[in-house]
């Protein structure tokens, strides 16, 4: 039976199970043994989904120390001889995966979004050329197949609960990391756009009225997102960027205001139930994927739709927001 090692999604522990879907695409459901490696104390969300949960003993390694974490994963690989090692493509994962691949002398596919199993080989699929195309990669050599998985690219459907065996990793870490965390400042609190069911997204066409999008987002109980153009111009924070170099999102409603819809942006859209685009150019690429295209100015659209919503709510159809 194949063995796969999955490192914890340190940004959202519960999302660690999504990497099981990647393993299932490689080996088939029930055809592999899964090992989750966790730095977090809480492992409840993963119980029943993995065959093994390996908790790293508290204080053994700093959660921001890729070298120390690589020591642990390297040792675990020596003990278990994994067939594959999957790392979430978080900031930490992006520092761990390349290092570990180097140590193990194995190839690494980054930002994987799909996997196809063929008769005699596994195709690893990832966006290339800033998301404009997809490329299929095959693994060479004898090392474990290593991948970093793009967050939100896979979604795991739980099957019959497993009898999870929980163990604690206690071997001392040899790596001498010379990084110290001095202090942590809370950023302004924003909702993670990956969790939002309604996204009001702005692109270059709304650069002068970007704050207006928050009014509409509030009215629709949604969250504001942005394209790379606005992030590069410093108008929107990177944490709300959708696209190849931003996040992958799957909201029920995606309202795209002034977004052209470059391939890089579309690469961040996955399973969008309803898409409404507001654009002065009705032939912009994003319009082809839209349920409704409103041809016109975004500011006027927001004003008019807000008025309509306000009138509807003031009639008592819903509590005033």
């Amino acid at each position: 039976m194949k063995k796969t090692c999955i490192f914890q999604d340190t940004e959202k522990t519960e999302n660690t199970t999504d990497l099981l879907e990647a393993a299932e695409r490689m080996y088939g459901r029930g055809q592999f043994e899964s090992h989750a490696v966790l730095l977090a104390d809480s492992f409840d969300p993963l119980m029943g989904s993995f065959h093994h949960i390996i908790r790293v003993a508290r204080g053994l390694v700093d959660s921001y120390d890729p070298r120390g974490i690589c020591d642990i994963l390297e040792n675990l690989h020596k003990e278990n001889r994994f067939d594959s090692i999957l790392i979430p493509g978080t900031s930490l994962g992006q520092m761990i995966a390349p290092r570990l691949a180097k140590r193990l002398g194995t190839g690494l596919a980054a930002g994987v979004t799909d996997i196809k199993k063929n008769t005699d080989y596994i195709e690893i699929i990832r966006p290339a050329c800033a998301g404009k195309i997809l490329e299929s990669i095959v693994h060479k050599g004898n090392g474990p197949m290593m991948m970093s998985i793009r967050p939100n690219a896979f979604e795991y459907t739980p099957g019959e609960p497993l009898q999870t065996v929980v163990s604690t990793y206690t071997e001392p870490v040899n790596s001498q990391s010379a990084v110290k965390r001095l202090h942590v400042k809370k950023n302004r609190q924003t909702c993670d756009i990956r969790d939002s069911e309604v996204l009001i997204a702005g692109g270059g066409g709304v650069k002068d009225i970007f704050p207006e999008l928050y009014r509409l987002a509030d009215a629709l109980k949604g969250t504001v997102a942005a394209s790379r153009k606005l992030v590069d111009q410093g108008i929107a924070p990177r944490s709300i960027q959708v696209g190849q170099s931003g996040k992958t999102v799957s909201p029920r409603l995606y309202m795209a205001l002034g977004i052209h819809g470059s391939m890089q942006h579309l690469a961040g859209l996955r399973h969008i139930a309803s898409l409404i685009s507001i654009n002065t150019a009705a032939n912009a690429p994003i319009c082809r994927l839209s349920d409704i295209v409103v041809q016109g100015d975004a500011r006027q659209f927001i004003d008019r739709l807000m008025k309509k919503i306000a009138a509807y709510r003031s009639k008592g159809n819903e509590e005033l927001t």
């Binding site: 520092m95 190839g107 980054a110 290339a128 404009k132 490329e135 010379a178 008019r304 509807y312």
Partner: protein
């Protein structure tokens, strides 16, 4: 202080046109640019040099000879030394091989800090800085939005990293590898009129595999442990879009759609 900036020249993806049927790039003369995160790394290094003239900045890149003019442009901005690692035998190398090649050269150079970008615009893999750090036995951090110039010297660097909800300040003992992001906002200086036409060819070294001595099986596709077997276009489900105007009728259509779908 000695800083080496490890940079990559990438196709300007905004100028690339992809044939949606074949996934082939239309034309071959697309514009190459310095990777935007790497621009910030070089800009920060030059900022340090501007305030401490003793600082020595070297820029190292691996790529085709066609990026030579771009390297020369950096030399005209007060970069002290440029090194282009270029040899057709390196073509087709994956990141593991690339980091080994860069590592072999950099290990021969004196440095206190390696500055890189965080992610590349084209592949976006962020592999090479981490693998380079592993090759050289150094710490590495990516996602840096600010390096404190007052606490940046040959012994340590203090810098901020931004993630979803926090800005974290770290201190790393030098030498180490610092990956800067575009969010840092570090900008390259303008070239002076005097420097604009300066002949900098003597300041640019071109390194080949003759200098580095890799065997054929260690580099290029033979040495790479991943192989791209095909590329193809992304496909998206086209919808039966309904186009409306930005008028009363159009707004009502959107409003009713939102109501019907339960968003209101």
């Amino acid at each position: 202080m000695k800083i080496i900036c490890v940079v990559k020249f990438v196709p300007d993806v905004d100028s690339l046109v992809c044939d949606v049927e074949t996934a082939a790039m239309a034309g071959t003369d697309f514009r190459m640019i310095l990777n935007p995160d790497d621009v910030c790394a070089v800009a920060f290094a030059l900022g340090v040099k501007a305030s401490s003239p003793d600082c020595h900045v070297e820029v190292v890149s691996m790529g085709p000879l066609s990026v030579r003019p771009h390297m020369e442009d950096l030399l005209r901005l007060a970069v002290d030394r440029g090194t282009l690692i270029s040899d057709p035998v390196f073509d087709g190398s994956d990141t593991l091989v690339t980091s080994a090649v860069l590592g072999r050269y950099i290990a021969t150079r004196p440095f206190d800090c390696l500055l890189t970008g965080s992610r590349s615009l084209d592949g976006g893999s962020a592999h090479v800085p981490a693998q380079l750090a592993e090759t050289l036995g150094l710490d590495q951090m990516l996602g840096i939005i600010r390096i404190d110039p007052q606490q940046f010297d040959s012994t340590r660097a203090v810098f901020d990293v931004e993630d979803e909800n926090t800005v974290t300040t770290y201190e790393m003992a030098m030498p180490g590898v610092l990956g800067v992001t575009r969010q840092s906002g570090y900008k390259l200086p303008y070239v002076t009129l005097t420097n604009m036409r300066r002949d900098v060819s003597d300041e640019l070294a071109v390194i080949t595999n003759q200098d580095l001595g890799f065997s054929e099986t260690e580099i290029g596709p033979a040495g790479s442990l991943t192989k791209v077997v095909k590329t193809y276009p992304r496909t998206y489900e086209k919808k039966a879009r309904h186009t409306v105007g930005n008028d009363e009728e159009g707004i009502s259509y959107v409003f009713n759609f939102l109501k019907e779908k339960g968003f209101l």
